[in-house]
C-alpha cells in the first residue's frame, strides 16, 4: 500500500472502538436520519464475519428477529456508526461463523470466552 493512501485512511480510522472478534455479541449504535431529525438506533447480534482492513473494515452482525435470520454489514469506521458495545465475548474456532445460518434455537448458542 502507498504511504499517502495509508495517511488518508488513517484519518478516517476511529481509535475508540473496542476489540471486535467473530462470536462476540455486540450492540451497534447507528445514527439514522429521518427527515431533519437524527436519532440513534441500536442493533444487537453476533459478529459472524470480520472483513477488510484499514478504514475499509466491516463486520457482519447476525440476529434472529421474529423467527427470521437478519444480517447487517457495518463499516465500523463509518461516521454513521456512533459506537459499538461488546456485551459478551464468544469462544469460537472459526473466523467466519456461517454455520450459524443453518442452526436454529439452542444450537446457535456460543460458548463464552473465559479470560484470565
Amino acid at each position: 500500500m502507498n504511504v499517502f493512501i495509508d495517511e488518508i485512511e488513517k484519518e478516517m480510522i476511529k481509535t475508540d472502538l473496542p476489540e471486535l472478534n467473530p462470536g462476540d455479541t455486540v450492540k451497534v449504535f447507528v445514527r439514522i436520519k429521518e427527515g431533519n431529525k437524527e436519532r440513534t438506533q441500536a442493533y444487537e447480534g453476533v459478529i459472524i464475519k470480520k472483513q477488510g482492513s484499514g478504514s475499509n473494515k466491516s463486520i457482519t452482525v447476525r440476529k434472529v428477529f421474529q423467527g427470521v435470520g437478519l444480517e447487517r454489514v457495518f463499516p465500523i469506521h463509518s461516521p454513521r456508526i456512533e459506537s459499538i458495545k461488546v456485551l459478551r465475548r464468544g469462544d469460537v474456532k472459526r473466523a467466519k461463523l456461517y454455520y450459524l445460518r443453518d442452526r436454529i434455537g439452542k444450537a446457535t448458542r456460543i460458548k463464552e470466552k473465559m479470560t484470565r
Binding site: 502507498n2 493512501i5 485512511e9 463499516p75 463509518s78 454513521r80
Partner: protein
C-alpha cells in the same frame, strides 16, 4: 483548450462522505508543473503552454533536450507535456502550477494509458460469445465468420479481430472531484482512472456538459 494538472496514480481506496456514504476514490499525487515554453499562433501555429515535470539527471536527457531546458535555467525535467490554451498572455516561462487550478471544478476528465493486455482473442478483446465447450463442439473461442464470400470478396476495414489489447490512451469523463489536498499535493477523484499505479495521468476540467 484548458489547463489541467498531471499526477501520478497512487491507487484506490474509499472515503466516507459527511452522511456516512462510502465513496470509492482514486488517489492522484499531483506533480508540480513548471512552464518551460509558451507556444503562440504567430510562431508555432497554435496557442499552447509546455510544462515540465519529474526531475531528471543530465545523463537521462539528450543534448537537445538539455539545451531546450537550460536555455531558461529551469532545471531538468524527465517529462514534457503540452496544454492547448486559448490565451497565453497570463502565463510566463518559469511559472509553477499546482492542484489549485482545479479548486472550483466539480467534475474532471482523466486521461491515461491503459494497462497493456498483450495479444488477445476476440472473446476478451471485443466481448464475442464463446462456442460450446463440450458435446463434440470444436468451436470454443474462434471468431466465426469475418464476412461474406464472393461479394464483397474482401474483409471490411475495422472488422473486430484478435490483436493487441490495452496500452492505449483512454479518457474517462465526468469524474467527481472528492477532495484536493494542497499541502500534500493529493487529488481524490471518484471512481477508477485508466492505467497502472505509478503512471502519470492528466486531469483536466470536464469538457463534457453535465447537469
Amino acid at each position: 483548450m484548458t489547463l489541467g494538472v498531471i499526477g501520478e496514480k497512487l491507487g484506490m481506496t474509499q472515503v466516507f462522505s459527511e452522511e456516512g456514504i462510502i465513496i470509492p476514490v482514486t488517489v492522484i499525487k499531483v506533480e508540480p508543473l513548471t512552464i518551460t515554453q509558451i507556444k503562440t499562433v504567430e510562431k508555432d501555429g497554435y496557442n499552447a503552454i509546455q510544462v515540465g515535470l519529474v526531475d531528471a539527471k543530465e545523463k537521462h536527457l539528450t543534448k537537445a533536450q538539455q539545451g531546450h531546458l537550460t536555455k531558461n535555467k529551469l532545471g531538468l525535467f524527465r517529462v514534457l507535456k503540452e496544454f492547448k490554451v486559448e490565451d497565453t498572455s497570463s502565463y510566463e516561462i518559469g511559472q509553477t502550477l499546482d492542484a489549485s487550478i482545479l479548486a472550483d471544478i466539480e467534475k474532471v476528465d482523466v486521461t491515461g494509458r491503459s494497462i497493456g493486455k498483450g495479444f488477445q482473442g476476440t472473446v476478451k478483446r471485443h466481448n464475442f460469445s464463446r462456442g460450446p465447450m463440450a458435446h463434440g463442439s470444436k468451436n470454443h473461442r474462434a471468431p466465426g465468420s469475418i464476412g461474406a464470400g464472393t461479394t464483397p470478396s474482401r474483409v471490411f476495414k475495422g472488422k473486430k479481430m484478435a490483436g493487441n489489447m490495452g496500452n492505449e490512451t483512454v479518457t474517462v469523463t465526468k469524474l467527481q472531484v472528492v477532495k484536493i489536498d494542497n499541502d500534500k499535493n493529493l487529488l481524490l477523484v471518484k471512481g477508477s482512472v485508466p492505467g497502472p499505479e505509478g503512471k502519470l495521468v492528466t486531469v483536466k476540467p470536464s469538457r463534457v456538459k453535465w447537469n
